[in-house]
Subunit: 302 residues, 4 copies
Amino acid sequence: MATHRFTPTRYHNAIGTAEPCFRLADGDTLITDTIDASGLDAHEVAVAPRPNPMTGPFFIEGAEPGDTLAVRIDRLTPSRATGWTYSPLALTVLDPAAIIDRPPVQRVVWDINRNAGTVKLQEPSPGLEDFAPEIAPMIGCFGVAPAGGQAFSTATSAQNGGNMDYRLFAPGTTAWFPVSVPGALFYLGDGHACQGDGEITGTGIETSFEMQVTFQVLKRSIAWPRGETAEDIFCVGNARPLDQALQHATTEMSRWLGEDYGLDARAASHLMGQVVRYDVGNVFNPAYTVACRIAKRWLTRR
Amino acid sequence: MATHRFTPTRYHNAIGTAEPCFRLADGDTLITDTIDASGLDAHEVAVAPRPNPMTGPFFIEGAEPGDTLAVRIDRLTPSRATGWTYSPLALTVLDPAAIIDRPPVQRVVWDINRNAGTVKLQEPSPGLEDFAPEIAPMIGCFGVAPAGGQAFSTATSAQNGGNMDYRLFAPGTTAWFPVSVPGALFYLGDGHACQGDGEITGTGIETSFEMQVTFQVLKRSIAWPRGETAEDIFCVGNARPLDQALQHATTEMSRWLGEDYGLDARAASHLMGQVVRYDVGNVFNPAYTVACRIAKRWLTRR
Amino acid sequence: MATHRFTPTRYHNAIGTAEPCFRLADGDTLITDTIDASGLDAHEVAVAPRPNPMTGPFFIEGAEPGDTLAVRIDRLTPSRATGWTYSPLALTVLDPAAIIDRPPVQRVVWDINRNAGTVKLQEPSPGLEDFAPEIAPMIGCFGVAPAGGQAFSTATSAQNGGNMDYRLFAPGTTAWFPVSVPGALFYLGDGHACQGDGEITGTGIETSFEMQVTFQVLKRSIAWPRGETAEDIFCVGNARPLDQALQHATTEMSRWLGEDYGLDARAASHLMGQVVRYDVGNVFNPAYTVACRIAKRWLTRR
Amino acid sequence: MATHRFTPTRYHNAIGTAEPCFRLADGDTLITDTIDASGLDAHEVAVAPRPNPMTGPFFIEGAEPGDTLAVRIDRLTPSRATGWTYSPLALTVLDPAAIIDRPPVQRVVWDINRNAGTVKLQEPSPGLEDFAPEIAPMIGCFGVAPAGGQAFSTATSAQNGGNMDYRLFAPGTTAWFPVSVPGALFYLGDGHACQGDGEITGTGIETSFEMQVTFQVLKRSIAWPRGETAEDIFCVGNARPLDQALQHATTEMSRWLGEDYGLDARAASHLMGQVVRYDVGNVFNPAYTVACRIAKRWLTRR
């Protein structure tokens, strides 16, 4: 149950089976630094190429193929006072006919005011002079080595996690990933200071972070990433089109209700039919992300 | 600003240009009865065939092609003490491989307890003995005559509304529909006592209702249904796959932010990128429904 | 078995249940005129509005709901010497990023040279001076009244046919449509002098035609349009995305192999797996069209 | 311009950046063995695990990132007298409702009769006693290392090629792949003795092969695989849904017509609109494959 501080010196643009940078025991806590989606660190120095350079991989002792790696997100602290976004809306969220009149892509800078707890455009567009949403830090891209010797760009996501850009991967949430290689090989990065549903400008507010997470190895198998917040449990599907991502997430949730809550397929459908919520993690990356979410108030663990 | 009570004697399974059943003035309030998705009325008597028999159409004086019909949902009162749902999960929300083991479709009955304010399975599945979510009434299917002399089954939805099955079409919400024919020709029905996101069992808790709505004709044009609740504004897209529904909803929201809130495409993207929420109305009907939603706290009307 | 000549005086932009313009007996042949997609007749006079104004509906005596209407395409003769197309490629067939550099839409004119048997741009783009593909006439939009009192714009298609824009709906082909109303109510129009797969510029070479077709009522049921050419049989699915259109077409073909060729689902899959061909009718309209096609040389009717 | 014979001793289930098994010069010809999709070699001995174990990777001297590797398929000779397929139709090509009645998956064996030039079920289903389509050998899975240090399962495909299962990757065809790493790192395997469009049973007739291919390095860049047969040129897109695969293929073809045939976007659209053909490579794998194909008779190289 030790806490380790690891300072990265190299980064990865694919989640695969690279040489581990550090080893932790089951139960350990990791504090480390992540750089932003374009490779800028806490000093805005470019230290790695795009996309989404990852810190890692971390070898978690005891994690074996077929296990599940639980990652509790303890703390996400922006490590600089600015972040950046793109505008306008991404090609993937516009009617094709609306793309014709789309203004060119720009990168703009936001101030991250940790005292006020808000983010704000440095040069607000007309009408947004007072727009200052709360800082809501989240991890855009994290996950474990995929199965079968594969390695996926950090631009995308799959059953092993990756660039899901889902705003509930936030402090207090525990994320679960299916382990495919010894040690799991966990990567993390691409922190956002704030982001709406869908990552619809192609970015959250991209910045560098100090992240603290705690690992636990579960001797059980899952097919897709899962998560738990103070309020909810959720399952994540990553695919195109959104329909398929939603199918993966929903099927995984139905399985979970069977495994841990004693509900067969019919009972699960009665419950899900009345209380399920769907969230769109991202509708921008090569694989889209949909979460199927249920409030824990409706559930009794068996 | 009169209030009218209309008792239907016939119903429609398509939203088109049928002969109006009743005429109201701009500003008038309508109180009427709707029957459930399978045609059962308040006495559980089958009075019309499937799917989703509609009450209407209502002719709203002053509504002309190119206008917008605003429909404030004043009250949705279940008119009987039971509703029904299907189980298990719909084919559209399952991984295709999971369909193979899916139990057969069953219809089950829920008690609608207006004193307790909850719904409850009459014969709860094991594990759901205590499952009693709050009554959360909503309109499953409503809208106006489509353009071009078309008529669409009440199984589906389009730019004119229809079977969207979105749970925020609830008391307190005002829905907007694009008018394509003189009088708009408004239909409504398919009330649900409760429903999660996506209508993922193919049903909400289907029951008969007394519905009260108030009409207002707006001399402005919209492309897709819009809505406003106490907290939020939203735009709805209806299409397959979900991606396309989301594109329609997002593009319409960006337009709305320009029209009423003074935000150009770039400013709209800065705001939407941080605060937008997506809801899945239904992922069951021939056209799926996605809502793009923004909290009004972020918006200042110009 | 009479042959009738019908000269239309009005046209329809939706396929529904309009008043029949003419009645024919089972077995009769119809010769009639169709105007082009934008409403221009044989004299290039605008006689009806867009989209795809239809000649019809024709009432076929003896056709009852649940039957199938077979329509043999005997002859499609362009009735003027020019047709038109749009350029460039449609929004639906381009990578979204490629839409940004797309030139604006233009309408251009092609000469239809019936002596040479070819079509040719009146003002060829550089590099296309010698481009003169063969005239290959086809029906872009035809079908029968849909079920349930619906009416669909001639911009789209569904189980009842409609704007499928499939190049094998050509002379010598017999098309089958599922009948939903007494008399079937058959509409036709939107002839093309030539068209590649997918209708990827949003048009074939659009022109007016004299069309000759022969009707036969079959006392059997189908779910989706089917067809037979000299070489092949095919089934058509109309939906979005292409995946779903392909599923409808494939499922219908598997059914057909069972009904008429004595192959159960497993046997059908053995045959289809080795010899099936897929054609993309259109990937432009609100509903896309995919045909599942099999050469008759592989089939023995039972 | 040497010809090399290489006998593999190990196989790969991912296309990535494994250590080269053999080096060839630009212009060289390779003769090698491939095993079937399930890992059975010419003696039906299981020598590698699923899916689609690849022979390779081959290092082609002179190939650098940004180049194109041309692979001429000289000869595909089945190296045993049987192959196998699955039945019934795959989940991905059926209407979801039709999945419920789908018989269980079976593996069956086909005789590959090289004298007769045909394939035939060893135990024909009723109605298929005379069904013996021609041997039509093709490569199911081949390609080069992807960009960015990625590695993809041989179950799927992407811009670097992979499991496209397109029947025109056959003797006489030259395939082009975009090179992302020095030496290109070319893999091949998963030969089929026959296959219809779409690989709709999840298999072609899977067997082991002796394959002969000739490499050429082109100092030009492409985004997606391209190919040339005696009759046609084609571009391949790999993605879900089919719509997106088709967009990639179409956009790449429009580019090619500009690069090599002097047609700008508008001219390319005039030509493609009349003569383009779409083929569905596979509609089974995680990424679907669509080819956009044009007969060379319509093209004049500039």
